[in-house]
Structures are given as structure tokens and as C-alpha cells.
């Protein structure tokens, strides 16, 4: 696992945790109103959690290995991965000459 992948994994873990904390399921319903940052305290907590989510999400996006270059080794060209019988049926039987079924497919 590279540094970028580790960082993204940590970010996603924190995002999940913050989402769980943002919902006041752990608060007493009858709790008296307390203001924090001009808001009811449970709202302020939710808001701070969302600020955290936004920051960690932005970090995760910036650490993303998103690329325009296709990497066949990761198996994401799932035409190869699709239930092979079905692909065969689709290309070889139903459309015998239609292998490049997508316009602009690479030869």
C-alpha cells in the first residue's frame, strides 16, 4: 500500500466516523438548549463534523490516483471480467461482427 493509498484509507475511515458522530443519536432528547457558535450545541457538533468531512474528502480527492490512462492490470476494464459466457453470447453469437460495440473503442 502506497503512502497515498494509506492516506486515502485513513481519510475514508475518519469520514465514516464523523458521519456517525454528526447524527445526535447519542444525545438525550430532553437535553436543555445550549448555544455554541450561535447554534444549538448538537447542531454545532454536526456542522463541525461536516466541515471535517469536507476537508478529509478534499484531501482524499487530491490523493486519488485518478488518471486518464487505462490500467488493464487492475481489472477495471470489466468487459473482460463480465460473466464470460454472456460476453461471448453478446459479441460472438448475437452480434458476430460487433466486437467494437462502443463507438471509438480502441482497436
Amino acid at each position: 500500500m502506497t503512502f497515498r493509498q494509506r492516506t486515502r484509507a485513513v481519510c475514508f475511515g475518519l469520514i465514516g466516523l464523523l458521519y456517525i458522530l454528526s447524527v445526535p443519536w447519542y444525545r438525550e432528547i430532553e437535553a436543555p438548549l445550549r448555544l455554541w457558535l450561535g447554534l444549538p450545541d448538537w447542531v454545532a457538533v454536526a456542522l463541525l463534523c461536516y466541515v471535517g468531512v469536507a476537508i478529509f474528502n478534499a484531501v482524499a480527492w487530491s490523493m486519488s490516483d485518478l488518471s486518464d490512462t487505462y490500467d488493464s492490470s487492475d481489472g477495471s476494464d470489466t468487459a473482460n471480467a463480465e460473466g464470460p459466457t454472456e460476453v461471448r453470447e453478446s459479441t460472438d453469437v448475437v452480434h458476430p461482427t460487433a466486437e467494437p460495440r462502443l463507438p471509438g473503442s480502441s482497436p
Binding site: G38, L47, V53, A54, N57, G83
Partner: protein
């Protein structure tokens, strides 16, 4: 000069600017291919991409509906800020896998992914079912925007432009610039519309805060008038909070217009930058509209705003009547709201055209005829939806609510299929049918939620169970047959 006259002038200038942008976009066209028309030739850079994602994500519902919801439900609607961020989080599951494939195979519509990924006798039915669900969701969305456009045009001109004229006139403008300039015109106008929306919202919020004497004062006034609006939510509301976050996050990434923006980006870098910036936009938009709705609690009686979508127009009327700089500022917000609505409507229309021609009718060509068919189908859809929009009393809201429940049923075909090779066509189709029938049936039976959990979420769980379960069960047989087939890479 009163507010209505200012409104007409503002509207005319705004619409003239949109028409101008359409002409410039038309001149920038490289060719008449579907890729150039529907995806701007895949040339959207970071800024325009970001603004078009922003303007498309925040619709009339965000600017008029969300303040109404906040007004009605109180501070618990802070959940909206969270679920809007969750959309950008879930895009991380979709984009890194889908984008390289979209570049490699020149995807134009979401159906192109389905065509690539799924084969066999059930592949075409699956593509059509998914396209049908997406088209239905888009048509509902378009209808809601048309109704909102008519309302805003009527309000901003103080009734000088009748509702029906607003719907038809603004729809005609959208059709004009979308047909002339395609995605370029849509994206460029989205950029301008996004800026108008941001500035307008910030100005309205600043006015509300200064009027009330600060956020503390607003909260205290709300607590006195409506104690329930500041109370800690109940267990059912908390469950609904989690459910809404999941529903919105998972379903919204499958809006065809959002997926097509992934295809239209100039580069992966532009996408990364745009999505990173989009993470913060709910804090600048959804949070602001939520607080605007809450601030309205202290200003209006609940009975005075039975149709809570009218909260923002009521506030703007108050603000505009204050005179001085408030009148043009309120006008700016009105136009910002109209911009948000039109930018969503134009994106829906553009996507509908491509979806209907390529995915439903199977016109996969790359020539001018395919583009022309997409344009005609978009125009036809618009004409078909307008009569529904003109019936102001028509309550299609349950159908509109259904759109997220419909879209979330496409999760296995996109989010799971991109990451798991074992998912098979037949089980995915069966899962979608089971999930959709369950969600729609439950909603129409008057049970859109089960103890706070949306019918769509339960339907999606069933859908996943069927799709994954049956794919695993049939895996052995498929592997046995795989050995007898030539490899796909070899065939390529």
C-alpha cells in the same frame, strides 16, 4: 421604479445574456458529433467543470425547497449539508474506475458503460431498464424545474409575467441555447448561473443576520417561537438522518447529467480539482439555505407559509421592499434562484436527449444524424412535460420523491459492477426489478419510510442481495465455461 419593473428588466438582460452565450458556444463547436454536442468535445477545464457541477447539483429544490424544509423541520435539517457532501464522497467510488474507461472507450452516456460491462441475452433489457429508470428520474426532475421556473418568473415580476408564460418562455430559451450550443452553452451558462447563485445567497444571508442581530439571536428567537425546531431529534429522525445521507449519496452520483460531466472533463486532473473544491460547496450553499429557512421561522408564522417553498420568495419580498440597495440585491437573489433552476433544467434536457437516442433507441452513431435525433428527442420531451408543468394544482410530488428511490436501484450496475468482476447481467437485472417494485410499491402504498428508513434504501438492499447472491451462485458454472472461450484481450 418598483420591484416588478426591475424584475422584468433583470429577466430580459439575463435571458439576452444566455442567448448570447449560446451563439458563442455554437461558434466554438468543432463538429456535429454527439461527443461534441453532448460532452463539449471533452474539453471542460477545471473552473468551468467545477461551476457546471455546482450549478447542476444545486437546483430549484435546493434554493426554494430546502429553506422550506428547514422552516418546517427546524435545525434537524442541518442533515442536508451532510447529505450533499456525501454525494462528493460517493463519487470517489465511481469516478476513479469509470473515468479511464470512459476515455478509452469514448463514452457519451451512462448506457455506454452498461453496453461495455454487461453481455449476454439480458444485456439489452438491462440497458433499457436502467436507461428507463434514469429517464424517468430526469423527466420528473425536469418537470419540477419547469414548475419552479414559472413560479419564480411570476414572483420576480410581481405577476406581470403569468405563470404559464414563464414556464413556456423560459423553457423555449433553454431549448434554444441547449440546441444551439450543446454542452458548451450549458456549461458556460452554468458557470455564470453558479456565480449569481453564490453571490445572491451570500447577500440574502448577510441581510438576515444583520437584521436579526446575529446567529445567537436568531436561534434564541426560534427557540421561543418553536421549541421543537431546536430540540434534539428523536430516534426515528436520527435513523432517517442516516438513511437520507445514504440515499442521497448513493442515488445522486447516478444522475446521468452528473455522470456525463465525468466524461466531459478535459482531464483527470481537472476532475480531481473540481471534486475536491465541490466538497466545500454544501457549506457555502446548503448550510446557508438551511439557515435562511430557520431564520424565517422567527419572521413568519407557520400558518402564513403553508406552502413552505414560498419561504424564500416571502423573505425576498420583505427585503426588496426595504428600498435602497436592497431592491437590486433581492432581484439578484431571485435571478440567482432562477439560474439554479434553469441550469438544472438545461442539464436534464441535454442528458435526456442523449439517453433516449443512444441508450433507449440504440442510436449509437457518431455522426450528425445521431446528434440531431438527440436534439429532437430532447425537444419532444420538453414539449411533452410542459402540459404537466402548466397544471399548477397537479401534485406529482410523490412521483418526484420517487426519483431517488428509482436511481438508487442502479447502484449494483455501476458502483458494484465497476469494482467486482463477478457481477453478472441476469442477476443485476433481476435485482433492479425486485428493488424497484419493492420501493415503488411501498411508496405508493403510503409507506415511503419504514421507521425512518427510506423504501429506496430497503429496496436497494434487496436489489444487492439478489444481484450479488445470484452472481455468486452462478459463478461456478460461468468459470467452467470460461475455460473453453478465447480470451477477450486476444480478440481485441
Amino acid at each position: 421604479m418598483n420591484f416588478g419593473i426591475w424584475g422584468i428588466l433583470g429577466l430580459v438582460v439575463y435571458l439576452a445574456a444566455l442567448v448570447g452565450v449560446a451563439e458563442i458556444a455554437k461558434r466554438a463547436k468543432r463538429d456535429a458529433s454527439p461527443s461534441d454536442h453532448f460532452l463539449a468535445g471533452r474539453t471542460l477545464g477545471s473552473f468551468v467543470l467545477f461551476m457546471t457541477l455546482y450549478a447542476t447539483a444545486y437546483s430549484g429544490n435546493s434554493l426554494l425547497g430546502y429553506p422550506g424544509r428547514a422552516y418546517r423541520n427546524g435545525f434537524e435539517f442541518i442533515m442536508a449539508t451532510g447529505f450533499m457532501i456525501s454525494i462528493i464522497v460517493v463519487f470517489q467510488i465511481l469516478v476513479p474506475k469509470l473515468r479511464p474507461l470512459a476515455v478509452r472507450h469514448s463514452f457519451v452516456t451512462p448506457g455506454d458503460w452498461i453496453r461495455l460491462r454487461f453481455g449476454g441475452p439480458w444485456a439489452n433489457p438491462l440497458r433499457r431498464v436502467i436507461s428507463g429508470l434514469m429517464s424517468l428520474a430526469l423527466a420528473n426532475f425536469l418537470l419540477a424545474q419547469l414548475k419552479a421556473m414559472g413560479d419564480v418568473a411570476h414572483l420576480v415580476t410581481e405577476g406581470r409575467v403569468p405563470y404559464a408564460a414563464g414556464v413556456i418562455g423560459l423553457a423555449a430559451v433553454i431549448l434554444f441555447y441547449e440546441t444551439r450550443g450543446g454542452m458548451r452553452a450549458v456549461a458556460w451558462t452554468d458557470a455564470a448561473q453558479g456565480i449569481a447563485m453564490l453571490v445572491g445567497l451570500a447577500a440574502l444571508f448577510a441581510w438576515l443576520i444583520s437584521e436579526a442581530g446575529g446567529l445567537d439571536e436568531i436561534t434564541r428567537a426560534v427557540a421561543i417561537k418553536r421549541p421543537d425546531a431546536v430540540a434534539v431529534p428523536t430516534a426515528v429522525v436520527c435513523t432517517n438522518w442516516f438513511s437520507t445521507t445514504a440515499l442521497m449519496g448513493l442515488a445522486s452520483v447516478l444522475y446521468p447529467q452528473a455522470i456525463q460531466r465525468i466524461f466531459a472533463a478535459e482531464s483527470a486532473q481537472a476532475l480531481k480539482r473540481s471534486f475536491a473544491a465541490m466538497s466545500f460547496m454544501p457549506l457555502a450553499t446548503t448550510l446557508v439555505v438551511t439557515l435562511i429557512g430557520i431564520a424565517a421561522i422567527a419572521r413568519f408564522d407557520l400558518e402564513a407559509a403553508v406552502d413552505t417553498d414560498g419561504v424564500v420568495p416571502l423573505l425576498l419580498r420583505d427585503w426588496g421592499s426595504a428600498g435602497g440597495w436592497a431592491t437590486p440585491a433581492a432581484l439578484l437573489v431571485f435571478l440567482g434562484a432562477l439560474s439554479a433552476i434553469m441550469s438544472t433544467a438545461d442539464s436534464c434536457l441535454l442528458s435526456l436527449g442523449s439517453l433516449l437516442s443512444r441508450d433507449l433507441l440504440g442510436r449509437e452513431g457518431r455522426d450528425e444524424a445521431a446528434t440531431r435525433l438527440g436534439k429532437r428527442l430532447a425537444a419532444l420531451m420538453l414539449v411533452a412535460v410542459i402540459p404537466f408543468a402548466l397544471q399548477r394544482e397537479l401534485t406529482l410530488w410523490r412521483l418526484i420523491e420517487l426519483k431517488m428511490e428509482l436511481l438508487i436501484q442502479c447502484v449494483p450496475a455501476f458502483l458494484v459492477a465497476l469494482h467486482w468482476k463477478g457481477l453478472q447481467t441476469g442477476p443485476v437485472l433481476a435485482g433492479i426489478i425486485v428493488g424497484t417494485v419493492f420501493s415503488v410499491g411501498l411508496t405508493f402504498a403510503g409507506m415511503p419510510q419504514l421507521q425512518g428508513v427510506h423504501a429506496g434504501i430497503v429496496g436497494c438492499a434487496l436489489n444487492l442481495f439478489v444481484a450479488v447472491g445470484f452472481s455468486l451462485a452462478s459463478r461456478g458454472g460461468a468459470q467452467a465455461q470460461f475455460a473453453t472461450l478465447p480470451s477477450h484481450s486476444a480478440r481485441r
